[in-house]
């Protein structure tokens, strides 16, 4: 039993923590998310320079020999600052696919560029009809000579406006929701037949609807095995889910601290509202939800390396608990802030919105509860 982080891990956390504190203050973030591009490529370059984009990769992959714990520590700090840059899509998802299943040539071409920040990936997996089911795919990739032709629509692709490349899930055989017949491809954004409709998201990020119309890709665009991509996708999405859980704990911690601070300084009836027991108990409940969430974030992260059933069970447990806590903490923070909590001018509203979207990111509470039930029934 050891809940301590290594010296190297503490260094990663301290480095990210300082960077977020110094460069991601509230006003800066506000200006960035309302700017035309909606992100800061120079912040991304700085992350690359500090080696943060390399943190979760092995040395032979060009990283620093870290893994899921490093990702967790980074995402927790990103959660504290509501960092919008696409660490999960580019590093955790695309990097994850390449790490697990990329050929030497693919790693050479793409993984090193992800780590250096030269290429930025988005993960195009969700489809309008899909509702968190990773195998529910109408995007098709048909064999075409040596390569493939992709057609279909991907929904709410986070970070797509900033991306140079996509990892795309597509059906290569079988029926619309079959587990078999799913494959994973790398597609350049500037490939002929790719079009985007970009928009902002309600939690301050950018996303796109991405359309593929007879997009030709070469044979070596395929990552992993043809038709047998689902286990790989599930592995990577579980890693991304653990990462977003860690982000939630960071956001919850700041949300809670902000609420305490507000309650201490806000006076009504001649006393700080923090002296009212009904509010004290709510803030105690927020604290307990937050502590339980940290525990579940650790659990999910630690179990990522175990067998499939154990991993899925832990990740879904964490996502359910953290989804529920994110809602409770966000709503309670707004309620305790009163009218200030529903204005765009205060930070708490932005944390509430991010926590609200995290609830359903990579699967809602209901989705993960269903997965948990199925795994329990099958055990």
């Amino acid at each position: 039993m050891d809940f301590n982080f290594s010296d190297e891990q503490n260094m990663v956390r301290d480095g990210i923590s300082r960077l977020v504190r110094e460069q991601y203050d509230w006003d800066t973030r506000r200006a960035v998310i309302s700017s035309e591009s909606g992100w800061r490529p120079e912040f991304w370059a700085q992350l690359a320079e500090l080696g943060m984009l390399a943190a979760p990769f092995s040395e032979e992959d060009g990283g620093f020999g870290g893994g899921a714990v490093e990702t967790m520590l980074i995402m927790e700090e990103f959660g504290k600052g509501l960092v919008v840059e696409p660490f999960i899509p580019s590093v955790v998802c695309a990097g994850g696919f390449l790490k697990h299943a990329g050929t030497a040539a693919q790693k050479d071409e793409y993984l090193s560029a992800i780590i250096s920040g030269e290429k930025v990936f988005a993960f195009a997996y969700a489809e309008p009809q899909g509702r968190y089911d990773l195998a529910n795919l109408t995007t098709t990739a048909k064999k075409d000579g040596e390569g493939y032709t992709l057609s279909g629509q991907k929904a709410v692709v986070i970070g797509a406006p900033w991306a140079s490349h996509f990892v795309v899930t597509a059906r290569t055989s079988g029926g619309e929701t079959d587990a078999d017949g799913v494959s994973v491809f790398i597609v350049a954004k500037d490939a002929a037949g790719v079009s985007l409709r970009d928009y902002a998201t309600v939690d301050g990020r950018r996303a796109s609807e991405v359309y593929f119309e007879n997009v030709s890709v070469p044979a070596d665009a395929l990552i992993g095995e043809l038709d047998n991509g689902l286990p790989l996708i599930e592995t990577v999405v579980d890693e991304a889910t653990a990462a977003v859980c860690a982000e939630a704990t960071g956001a919850m911690q700041v949300t809670h601290a902000m609420t305490l601070e507000y309650a201490r300084q806000r006076k009504q009836f001649g006393v700080p509202i923090s002296s009212f027991q009904v509010l004290q108990h709510r803030m105690v409940d927020m604290f307990m939800e937050y502590e339980q969430s940290i525990s579940m974030s650790y659990l999910a992260t630690i179990k990522l390396a175990e067998d499939e059933a154990t991993r899925k069970h832990a990740v879904s447990s964490a996502k359910v608990r953290i989804g529920q806590s994110a809602r409770f903490v966000g709503q309670s923070a707004v309620q305790t802030h009163g009218g200030m909590g529903v204005t765009d001018e205060t930070a708490v509203g932005s944390y509430f919105k991010r926590l609200s979207i995290i609830e359903s990111e990579f699967g809602s509470v209901d989705h993960h509860m269903r997965r948990h039930i199925k795994l329990t029934a099958a055990a």
Partner: protein
């Protein structure tokens, strides 16, 4: 015990249903979020009802009320909710109107009540201040008598739709030395075009501009705009708050919301079946309907008490708490139901008018902003914590 409408009540229902069908303006553009509607669209139905004589049903008949029983008024709001009608805003009709006809003088009644009935005059409420929210009586805005005028100075906040308002009703401190803060407050009507008033919109978390700061700098208001007696404003304010709460349960609107949620859950698919067939999600909808049924009957019992001559009392705090919890729950479930498409911010959609590549179904666009916006309901009109304090004191006697 009988929950059925009488034959007369059924005939009344048919009459109002028929009137709504034939007269509700079809060209009102419902924005994805209600607060994005144009002021014209927000008052269109009010103006039609004003001409019909149905804009202020709850008022005494001598002031233009319809003389309907509480049950008939309940039927009226149900029938309007059926067509998702944009109802008259409460600030004139439900708030300052009753204060004016109850505590105002004849000149004030003659001057202000017709504009409230017709919908021609837009009212706003100057109550909360940055330092006076739940503790409203600690308000600091001053009104100092100067000859035939008061001079107002201070800042109000959370003033809903003040950007469109012609008139406002303000709580101001007229006696800073009163032994209790409640005793030195006066209720003053203010022409919003008076020099010295500045309205600054506040952007809310859903991206809309629904509330405002109202800054008052040496605003000269004729003393004849004082309602009732100087320093008795708190009494009138409390009267108004009781009125505000009686409509706050929002049962009819929530029923409509449940139907919309069911429609969404019929369109959204899960594992090849409509979402509404999923036991987990269906259970949540049923739970909401059950809670709403309990609220509805509770409201009907309150109405029956009113019909028997009991005014709205502290029980209305129960309606406010439960009503807003249900309204908020509805928005949570709607956001859950729309899945991925709750995330895009529709305010940022490409404005090319192209519908070739829609960004999710239309019903998804308002889900997140509405969820965010409706957090206000457990805060405004006396926060739900304050409502529970009222029940603690006034109902439980603790």
């Amino acid at each position: 015990m009988n929950l059925e409408f009488t034959a007369e009540e059924k005939a009344f229902r048919d009459e109002v249903r028929n009137f709504i069908e034939n007269n509700y303006p079809q060209n009102i553009e419902r924005a994805a979020v209600q607060d994005d509607m144009s002021p014209e669209d927000m008052t269109a139905w009010h103006k039609i009802l004003g001409e019909k004589g149905w804009s202020v049903p709850a008022w005494p008949e001598q002031y233009g009320g319809t003389g309907w029983t509480p049950t008939q008024r309940y039927i009226w709001s149900e029938e309007n909710a059926r067509v998702n009608a944009v109802m008259p805003l409460p600030f004139g009709v439900a708030m300052v109107g009753p204060v004016i006809y109850t505590f105002g003088n004849e000149e004030q009644k003659a001057k202000h009540l017709p504009g409230i009935r017709s919908g021609d005059v837009w009212w706003c409420q100057g109550y909360s201040e940055p330092g006076a929210g739940s503790d409203l009586a600690s308000l600091k805005t001053t009104a100092i008598r100067d000859g035939d005028d008061y001079i107002l100075n201070g800042q109000k906040t959370w003033t809903t739709l003040a950007q469109h308002a012609d008139w406002g009703f303000f709580l101001c401190r007229t006696d800073p030395d009163a032994p209790k803060p409640q005793q030195g407050i006066s209720f003053i009507l203010v022409d919003m075009n008076t020099p010295g008033i500045e309205v600054r919109p506040i952007k809310l978390i859903d991206g809309g501009y629904e509330v405002n700061e109202v800054w008052l700098t040496d605003v000269r208001v004729p003393a004849e705009n004082l309602i009732g007696e100087e320093n008795k404003g708190w009494t009138y304010a409390k009267f108004l708050l009781a009125h505000e709460r009686s409509g706050i349960a929002g049962v009819a609107r929530s029923k409509r919301g449940v139907e919309q949620l069911k429609d969404i859950a019929k369109h959204e698919m899960l594992d090849g079946e409509p979402l509404i067939k999923d036991m987990g999600f269906a259970t949540k909808i049923s739970q909401l309907e059950i809670d709403l049924a309990a609220l509805e009957i509770t409201e009907l019992r309150t109405l029956a008490g009113e019909q028997a001559g009991k005014g709205p009392g502290p029980e209305s705090s129960l309606l406010k708490v439960k009503g807003t919890e249900i309204q908020q729950r509805l928005t949570e479930l709607t956001l859950e139901a729309v899945g991925y498409y709750g995330t895009p911010d529709f305010r940022s959609f490409p404005a090319d008018g192209s519908n070739d590549f829609p960004i999710g179904p239309d019903y998804a666009h308002s889900a997140a902003p509405t969820y965010f916006n409706m957090r206000k309901t457990s805060i405004y009109g006396g926060s739900n914590e304050i409502q529970r304090n009222i029940i603690t004191k006034m109902v439980l006697g603790l």
